[in-house]
């Protein structure tokens, strides 16, 4: 990744920011704005999970629990206990970070299947808590009356305001993740993914890095959870179950593991997909399954790799017919 990579990175980010600004203007009606808001939330989640799953090679099947824990905490603190939004949000994010640290410390010693099982067990325990602690969470029928957020005098009410808030945060998270992955930390994580033994022989603190990225990715989920709770103003256990954890894994895998752009693409695609699948109701879950299997068999690099392949194919063709000189086409 030389200077060329750097400039491409900036161009990509500018394109991303521009897309966020322009998108709402192209929508035929407000309903699609809601879909895009959810796509933004899912992007934050998928980027976080990708840091863990794609870059560091550690699977989590309990990410929906972190998302839900933050949503419930922030919702209950504001609605039941009258906390201000920012205080409740900070408390929720802090709590999830703490829980992730507590869970991660022993769990990340486990490898592969054990880790999958450990995170899954954690997810199920949290889901059952949401359902059973009826006095606090409202039980299976959910918890309503969560106020809209107020931040330094600004109170977003309209969907368009939420759209900019959520995608703005998604953009910052994307930026932060890119930074992490381009830094020393990112290289350490990729080394761990390739070979834990090799990484530790090079003096990399494997356990420390795994815990670090686990907590970071849980924190992202917490941010998404807070935003979700105060946008929808209602939370119920069903949103935060095992199926959603799997859906998040699907977004990362479909988009492309170890590709932040891929995570964006995966989240966007899988959030909008059900809108297209309305006419084949009940089939959507089957389609999720099929995407997972087919992607893993035929396209392990996901959409990111597919786009890359197609792009390099074009470059090759253009070079053949002499449109690009070698140097322009490079990279």
């Amino acid at each position: 990744m030389g200077p060329g990579f750097f400039s491409r990175r900036i161009v990509g980010l500018m394109f991303f920011a521009l897309a966020i600004l322009v998108m709402p203007k192209t929508l035929p009606n407000d309903y699609y704005l809601t879909v895009l808001i959810f796509a933004g939330l899912n992007s934050i989640l998928a980027i976080g999970l990708n840091l863990l799953l794609g870059y560091a090679g550690q699977i989590s099947l309990g990410h929906a629990a972190f998302f839900g824990l933050a949503a419930y905490t922030s919702g209950i603190l504001t609605a039941t206990h009258g906390w201000p939004f920012l205080g409740a949000a900070a408390a929720a994010v802090f709590l999830v970070g703490g829980v992730a640290w507590l869970i991660g410390r022993p769990t990340l010693k486990l490898k592969g299947h054990y880790l999958a099982m450990g995170t899954l067990g954690f997810g199920i325990i949290v889901y059952i808590l949401f359902n059973e602690a009826t006095a606090i969470t409202g039980g299976p029928s959910g918890f309503s009356g969560i106020p809209k957020p107020v931040m330094l005098g600004w109170k977003p009410v309209k969907d368009l305001e939420f759209y900019y808030l959520i995608w703005g945060i998604a953009f910052l998270i994307f930026l932060l993740s890119q930074h992490i992955m381009l830094s020393r930390n990112g290289r350490a994580l990729r080394a761990i993914h390739t070979s834990e033994a090799g990484a530790s022989a090079l003096g990399i603190n494997v356990a420390g890095y795994k815990l670090f990225i686990f907590v970071v990715s849980a924190l992202y989920a917490a941010v998404a959870g807070v935003l979700y709770a105060h946008y929808v103003t209602f939370v119920s256990p069903g949103t935060f179950g095992f199926p959603f954890s799997v859906q998040l894994v699907t977004m990362v895998v479909l988009g492309g593991m170890a590709s932040l752009w891929g995570s964006l693409a995966g989240a966007l695609f899988l959030t909008t997909l059900p809108e297209f699948l309305r006419m084949v109701e009940n089939f959507d879950i089957v389609i999720y399954g099929a995407i997972l299997v087919l992607c893993m068999i035929f396209l392990p690099g996901g959409l990111a790799e597919a786009i890359h392949r197609i792009a390099s194919l074009f470059v090759k063709v253009f070079r053949r017919i002499g449109l690009f000189s070698k140097r322009e086409g490079a990279g």
Partner: protein, 293 residues
Amino acid sequence: MTQGQILQYLISGVTVGSTYGLAGLGFTVIYNTTEIINFAQGEFVMLGGMLAVFAMQWWGLPLPLAVVAAVAIVTAIGVLIDRLTIQPVRHRSPIHLVIITIGISILLRGGAMLLFGKDTFSLPPFTGGSPILFLDAAILPQNLWVVGTAILVLIAMKLFFELTITGKAMLACSYDARAASLMGINVGTMVTLSFAFSAMSGAIAGVILAPITLTSYDVGILLGLKGFAGCILGGLGNPFGAVAGGVLLGVIESLGAGLFSSGYKDAIAFVLLLGLLFVRPSGLFGKKMGERV
């Protein structure tokens, strides 16, 4: 709580635990040949019960034939899954394989939902429904069927792996697939066979449980997870441990539901599992894992 009640909880715990054990046995068989954890194992259990119900409803088969048909179909599905989705990518990383089996489980569940609908069903008990009274506790004949079948399947597996050449060949694949293949063992066939076995033991679990608890398209998730939890509890890779772990889990769950709260029943199992994973990652009966690199 009276002694009779405790006994009653024990009986239902052992019964349900036996099916966790059978599901866990399925995990173990596949894990032993491939080191893959098959997240679709619970779906085999679900399909076993559901197909038996529908073999009776649609084709008018008598119960024993319906049971045999269900187990046979699920076994065939297991083989098909292996040939279509696992064999082509067997050498990819564990994460890829885990994700593939998660995808398969979603496909099977969705397929069952489209095919059978979202209702719950049950099978008639294999031999009569009148309970046997034993020290203030009632034992249903079906309880005995479940426990007896689980024991039989376990013994059969054990004999197969210890006495037959094919069984030993499957074990050889688990130690070192490349070495096994150099010795002339067809690793691919062994993997397919392990999928067949695990689908079969899952389906058997589903079929014998269906008369006691209701079955529906989505019971597989939790049954599979419990099977896996039992497996880890007992030590992954050890068939005896899988069954023992499953039974233990069933008993703890059942007692927990009786003594504390039935709502938290499923959480008890997982809290226990997490606790154990942290303290003793190789399970109760598992060998200490010493990985050489």
